[in-house]
């Protein structure tokens, strides 16, 4: 094995040959500059922007629903619970867009990697909130949707509240499944990511990297 100084010499010799041996594909480069390609960050921003529009529409519709049914306790309470959930999701989505737009890749590595990892932590927290909240808010959602689209009042239906209790038990089952099988879902990357987010595995990984970054920045002669 070479030492680092010898490696540097080998590297320099290799570097001299690279000019001759590599060619940039001009056609592909032209496509990139003609905006035919999107960076990963642009794609995420686009998805988040669409989510913002959807959440905003939901918040606005629920606001209108609440004002029209303020006298009916079951309906207004259900809509308010849904609205709180929707407003939280809307705020979290906007926060992600703002944080993403602040990222300037030409800034130093330690600074940008910290920002990116903090953003990842935020995304994981939002996924957890969406999944946990989802098991609770689906009941008010059914009450509001049944009234708004079918004109039915099912707020007092006992099966609905039994299902809410079942939903809460489902959280425990989902947690167990995520912890037990999350890492084995390699063939389904999206499901794997959601399960790892839910189980907190990705959060631990992000926290580890953030601590490595702090160490990397602050390390001094020991």
């Amino acid at each position: 094995m070479l030492n680092l100084e010898e490696m540097k010499e080998v590297w320099a010799a290799h570097d001299e040959k690279l000019d001759e041996s590599i060619r940039l594909n001009r056609e592909l480069l032209r496509s990139v500059t003609l905006k035919k390609a999107h960076s990963a960050m642009q794609r995420i921003t686009l998805t988040l922007s669409m989510n913002t529009v959807i959440w905003f529409a939901i918040v606005a519709s629920l606001g209108s629903f609440i004002s029209h049914h303020i006298g009916v306790l079951w309906l207004s309470m259900s809509a308010i619970i849904l609205d709180v959930y929707a407003v939280t999701m809307l705020a979290a989505t906007i926060r992600q867009i703002v944080d993403l737009r602040r990222i300037d890749y030409s800034r130093p590595i330690a600074e940008i990697q910290k920002q990116l990892e903090s953003l990842r932590v935020l995304r994981i927290r939002i996924t957890q909130l969406a999944l946990l909240g989802g098991t609770v808010v689906w009941a008010p959602f059914v009450i509001v949707a049944a009234h708004a689209f079918l004109g039915l009042d099912i707020g007092n239906a006992p099966w609905l509240w039994i299902n809410v209790a079942f939903g809460l038990c489902l959280i425990l089952l989902a947690l167990w499944l995520s912890k037990a099988f999350g890492e084995r879902m390699g063939r389904f990357p999206f499901i794997q990511r959601v399960m790892n987010d839910f189980a907190g595995r990705n959060l631990i990984d992000a926290a580890d990297f953030l601590s490595k970054l702090s160490e990397f920045e602050a390390e001094r002669q020991r």
Binding site: I22, A37, A40, Q42, R107, I112, E219
Partner: protein, 168 residues
């Protein structure tokens, strides 16, 4: 400056610094498809940031920061990433996977880099590329003293590995 001129300027300056792209991609990805994806992701990001490039700064420092930032996040990204828009029209860097042209020593060197964690990879790459401690500190966002400490630690680690392999 009109779009066409900007594109030409970008292509020229990227062509002059294509080695950085090649070395970063080879250091962070061992797999050919990943290298191609990463190369395209870096170029997209470079092009997006090109408008805000400060002419007083060194292009190579600016390019290193963007390329390494993209590479580290690419390396760390969960496997949920989708394929990029450009994929069927050949490769961005035509020699990017021609490992048969690379000597055994270089393969060993890339293996050594591959064994480092993503942050140390950046440090070693910048050092091997002949950048001064000040330049490395500037790209990484840490102090010059810190760079010197880390480099000496890498050297020490290599010595230990070397003596370990000799004893074995």
């Amino acid at each position: 400056m009109n779009m066409l001129l900007r594109q030409q300027e970008f292509q020229t300056v990227l062509d002059q610094h294509k080695k950085i792209l090649y070395k970063v991609c080879n250091s962070y990805c061992r797999n050919r498809d990943d290298r191609e994806d990463l190369a395209q992701e870096i170029v997209v990001q470079l092009w997006r940031s090109f408008g805000s490039f400060d002419e007083r700064a060194r292009f190579s420092t600016w390019m290193y920061r963007i390329a390494l930032n993209v590479a580290i996040s690419f390396y760390r990204r969960e496997s949920t990433r989708s394929r990029y828009v450009l994929s069927d029209d050949g490769q961005l860097l035509n020699a990017i996977d021609e490992t048969h042209q690379v000597s055994d020593q270089m393969q060993a060197l890339y293996q050594f880099i591959a064994a480092q964690d993503p942050l140390d990879k950046a440090l070693v790459l910048l050092y091997l590329d002949g950048n001064s401690y000040l330049e490395i500190a500037d790209v990484l966002g840490i102090s010059e003293t810190n760079v010197a400490t880390k480099i000496s630690r890498v050297k020490q680690r290599m010595r230990q590995e070397l003596s370990g392999s000799t004893q074995a």
